[in-house]
Symmetry: C2
Subunit: 358 residues, 2 copies
């Protein structure tokens, strides 16, 4: 069986999704959408963090009406997330949403869906057909249970319904809170359709369990060439979702944003406060967009030898530290000056890299 | 090509590694090994967190001598981690180490290695042949570069050398700080040997990047049936390594320890402080060892419907919350009583499950 690794291309606002385009990183606001100021402020923070597409919940007409003002104030496309009430979808589209996300199964039946599709067609904006393991149609649940096959059947049925209505500007998501179900469902559907796929594990949980679940599921799919856009879902500030999203893309070799820090876990050999040093460096590099590889090592065992592939590194000794570049030691400095001296070298390197790129 | 999914079985102390035995979760202390009290205290905390095998750094003779006292005070096997000095390996074995980890390439040549192997044989303790991308032999680096093939060649050469010395009580690790190199190296070696494999990504970094890298690499390998024991490496308190390790095993469907919390990321629909609620529940469940699935949901959209597979769940409304079990609503409570009422139900459920298991 063939994977449709090369999916069709759709556009969410100006962002291409599908084909050979880079896997885009999305998030969803958790502000009250009707609180326009708070929502805009959060989206701007998310953009700084690297968010490329933003979704907002539209639970009522006031939220739908807020979309036009929010959209005007931000530089990335906005997706309206709608459940139950088809009129909210219509209003969101009229107010300028760059796409809508619906679960066709809960929008109120065939005729309501038709009206929504008609309106999306009129404004030529994509629809994400978002199926969730928690809300499968009754007949599918009876036939398949909550299984990958059931998720795929539900999505394909809904997509076929919309295609029959004459609209193909679509992407698909199949979400489950279970990692193995998620992986199997996306693998299966990628063999059956070439519509672009939005990846995610739903209700993944807090920072650590949510990051693990998203990394295992999305990592595995992305390495198989499956997935065109993604959202990491965490019970946390959405900026963390963006951070984790890019780390998954980096780990799978697909995209790099900003520096990578390799740092050792420390052990009985370590004689400096490496955790503070690594934390401080992690904080400082968050504003840097140039891809760099920095090493923060506790001792000489893991020092310049193990970390020679880093652009720049620091390794601890007894109350001192060395700063190295490849296998070459640049300088030895006292522990209290280590962070500043290292940071100076990082700045130099960034300047070098940036002038090389000119 | 065949994966040796079924590896040979070795014993690290009383813990079987390989074959169909569960993938064990290890960590490494970051205390000064010579500080016996601090090291024992850290290992005891790690055991509480679920650590099954512990490794300690042995940088000098005092550290090697400390092993016997530490070993007597703990209930899990202890591995001595040795670099450069073969005499530290000999001493660690004599002091009761349940296994040693060496990188045969840096232990001082063939004859020194032979002495170490002879001593391990005498005490019948396993040797982990631990190859790292940062310390490949020069000829291998020249021939292969720092590649998966180079890592595998180095490991197999060292293993063959020890097998030729008449000792086969071995396990292998191939560590790189790069996720794709790690995955390829372990896949390759799993086709070429049936010695048990210790999985890990080295110098993975801080909590988020380190968790992502370990989850993508170990997740992918474990789902392919590769890996017999594992250590997540984080620049963090080692207890976090254990926590992440078990989350990876849970996500890949291999092992469950304690409750799983599925929780939504919240959105504009959420009218209660879900982050606090989820954090508080996450904290409270850390002491529970019974596997449970708990749902913490912001609103009715994701409420009992989406989370019906949970054993017990809570969903927010406007200043109130509902507590549900499957699709059945147990009670409605005010936001301030939510955590305590929910916790009461959790306790009841645990009692039920435990009495069923008797």
């Amino acid at each position: 069986m063939k994977n449709y690794n090369k999916t069709r291309i759709i556009y969410v606002g100006k962002v291409p999704v599908g084909g050979n385009h880079p896997v885009s990183v999305q998030s969803m606001t958790n502000t009250d959408t009707r609180d326009i100021h708070a929502t805009i402020a959060q989206i701007r923070r998310l953009i700084e963090a690297g968010c490329e597409i933003i979704r907002v919940a539209v639970p009522d007409m006031d939220a739908a009406n807020a979309i036009s003002v929010i959209k005007n104030a931000i530089s990335i496309p906005i997706i309206a997330d709608i459940h139950f009430d088809w009129r909210l979808a219509i209003k969101s589209i009229e107010k300028g949403a760059d796409a809508i996300r619906i679960n066709p199964g809960n929008i109120g039946g065939y005729e309501k869906l038709q009206k929504v599709v008609q309106k999306a067609k009129e404004f030529y904006i994509p629809i994400r057909v978002g199926v969730n393991s928690g809300s499968l149609e009754k007949d599918i649940r009876e036939k398949y249970g909550v299984t990958p096959e059931g998720l795929v059947e539900s999505a394909l049925r809904n997509v076929a319904m919309i295609v029959d209505m004459g609209y193909e500007n679509l992407k698909i998501s199949l979400k489950s809170s279970d990692v193995l179900t998620t992986i199997k469902a996306y693998r299966l559907i990628s063999q059956k359709t070439d519509f672009p796929l939005h990846l995610g594990v739903t209700e993944a949980g807090g920072l650590v369990p949510g990051t693990v679940k998203s990394s295992v599921a999305l990592g595995s799919l992305l390495m198989d060439g499956i997935g065109d856009t993604m959202r990491v879902s965490l019970t946390r500030d959405p900026e963390e979702e963006i951070y984790v999203g890019y780390e998954i893309l980096r780990a799978t070799g697909l995209r790099k944003r900003g520096p990578e820090i390799i740092s050792c876990p420390t052990c009985g050999r370590c004689e400096i406060n490496l955790f503070n040093l690594a934390d401080e460096i992690e904080k400082r590099v968050k504003t840097i967009k140039v891809p760099l590889k920095l090493a923060v090592m506790g001792c000489v065992v893991n020092g310049p030898g193990e970390a020679r592939e880093a652009d720049l590194g620091v390794a601890g000794g007894k109350g001192i530290g060395i700063i190295f570049k490849g296998e070459k030691i640049l300088k030895k400095v006292s522990e209290e000056n280590l962070i500043n001296e290292f940071w100076e070298e990082v700045q130099k390197l960034i300047d070098e890299k940036e002038s090389n790129n000119k």
